[in-house]
C-alpha cells in the first residue's frame, strides 16, 4: 500500500500530473508524504519499465501520463490489494 511506485501509478490514474502535483495528490488520497528522492526514484523506475511516460512541456514542471501497460499493472495491483482487503475483512468478522 505504501509502495511509492504503486502510489504514483494510482495518482496518475485520474489524469496527467507533474512531480509536485503527484506529491500533493498522494498525500491527500493515501495520507503518505513521499520525499522528493523517493518520488523521483519511483518515477525513474516506472519510466524505465514503460509504465508511465513524460509529456512535452514548455515549463520545467514536466507532467507524466500512465501508459496502457502501466494501467494494466495498476489494475493487477489493485485486484491483488482488493483480495487482501476482502480476506482480511472476512477473517475479522469471524474472529
Amino acid at each position: 500500500m505504501s509502495d511509492p511506485t504503486f502510489l504514483v501509478l494510482a495518482s496518475l490514474a485520474d489524469g496527467d500530473k507533474h512531480g509536485y502535483a503527484m506529491m500533493e495528490d498522494i498525500q491527500a488520497f493515501a495520507g503518505v508524504r513521499l520525499g522528493p528522492g523517493t518520488l523521483y526514484g519511483a518515477i525513474t523506475r516506472l519510466e524505465e519499465r514503460g509504465w508511465i511516460r513524460a509529456l512535452n512541456s514548455t515549463d520545467r514542471r514536466r507532467p507524466y501520463r500512465l501508459t496502457a501497460e502501466g494501467q494494466r499493472h495498476l489494475q493487477e495491483d489493485l485486484a491483488a490489494l482488493d483480495r487482501v482487503v476482502k480476506a482480511g475483512q472476512r477473517r475479522l468478522k469471524h474472529a
Binding site: 507533474h18 512531480g19 509536485y20 506529491m23 520525499g35 522528493p36 528522492g37 523517493t38 518520488l39 523521483y40 526514484g41 518515477i43 525513474t44 515549463d59 520545467r60 514542471r61 514536466r62
Partner: protein
C-alpha cells in the same frame, strides 16, 4: 539549507541529472524541503548511484551520509563529563582486622534516596525528564551515573558522569564534602574497638577533577566521514565486480 540541498542533488549521477534535473529542481522550488527531505534526497542519490556505480560519487555520497549520521548521533548523545574525586579514612591506627565497608552502606546520610533526591533537585539535574518521568526514574538514572569504587583498603573513588561539566563537578564536590563532614557509620563487625570507631574520620585525598568521556564532535564527524567514504567505495567496487562480464 539551499546550499545543502543543492549539494545533495549533485550526488545524483550526471546522466540522471541531465534527464530529471530541471523538473527535480522545480519540485524542490515548489515544496519547502526540510531536514527529512535532505536525507530522502541523499538516500535517493545513493540508490541511483548504486544502480550506476560511480565510485568517487558513491564515496562522497556515503561520506555525506556518514557525516549526517554522526551529527545526528552527537545530537542524540551529547558528550559527557566524568568528575572524579578520592576520599579515604584518615585514622592511622586502624586495626588489622578492619574490614573495609561499602561506602554506599555506611554513609546513608549521603547515599540514601532522600539525600540523593535532594542533590538532584538542588543541582537541577535531568531537566528534560522533569515532569515527564517520576522522581524514582530520575533517581535511578542518577545512581547509574554515580560510581563509588574501593581503590585501596581505606580509600574510595567517587565519580559522577553528566553532560554538563560544571554540574558534574558540583555534584561530586557536594558528595565528597558531605562524606567529610558527616563521616561514615562503621559497625562493630568492621572495627571491634569502640574508640577506633568513634575516631574514624574521612579525608579528601584528591579533589574532584572532570574529564570528557567518549569521542568529541569532530572525532565523531571524522569517523562518519571516513567510515561512510569507505563503505561507498566498497559498495561501488562490489557492484562493478558483480556487473563485470564473465
Amino acid at each position: 539549507m539551499k546550499k545543502v540541498i543543492h549539494f545533495a542533488v549533485r550526488l545524483y549521477p550526471p546522466q540522471w541529472r541531465e534527464r530529471y534535473g530541471p523538473e527535480f529542481d522545480a519540485l524542490l522550488d515548489d515544496m519547502n524541503p526540510g531536514f527529512g527531505d535532505i536525507l530522502d534526497i541523499v538516500k535517493g542519490a545513493l540508490l541511483m548511484q548504486v544502480s550506476l556505480s560511480n565510485l568517487p560519487l558513491m564515496a562522497a555520497a556515503f561520506a555525506l551520509l556518514g557525516i549526517i549520521v554522526a551529527g545526528w548521533v552527537s545530537i542524540q548523545n551529547p558528550r559527557r563529563y566524568a568528575s572524579t574525586g578520592v576520599i579515604a579514612i584518615g585514622n592511622a591506627y586502624l586495626p588489622d582486622e578492619f574490614r573495609q565497608p561499602s561506602l554506599l552502606e555506611v554513609a546513608p546520610h549521603v547515599f540514601g534516596d532522600e539525600s540523593l533526591t535532594r542533590l538532584i533537585d538542588q543541582n537541577g539535574l535531568y531537566p528534560d525528564e522533569l515532569g515527564r518521568r517520576p522522581m524514582t526514574d530520575r533517581l535511578q538514572q542518577f545512581k547509574e551515573n554515580l560510581i563509588v569504587a574501593s581503590i585501596s583498603p581505606r580509600a574510595w573513588e567517587v565519580s559522577f558522569t553528566y553532560p554538563d561539566c560544571v554540574k558534574a563537578q558540583k555534584v561530586t564536590s557536594d558528595l565528597l564534602r558531605c562524606l567529610c563532614q558527616g563521616g561514615i557509620h562503621v559497625t562493630e563487625q568492621m572495627a571491634p574497638n569502640e574508640e577506633i570507631r568513634a575516631h574514624i574520620q574521612m579525608l579528601l585525598i584528591d579533589p574532584p577533577q572532570a574529564a570528557a568521556v567518549g569521542p568529541s564532535l569532530s572525532e565523531r564527524i571524522s569517523l562518519g566521514l571516513g567510515g561512510g567514504a569507505l563503505v561507498g567505495v566498497a559498495i561501488a567496487i562490489l557492484r562493478r565486480r558483480i556487473q563485470r562480464p564473465a
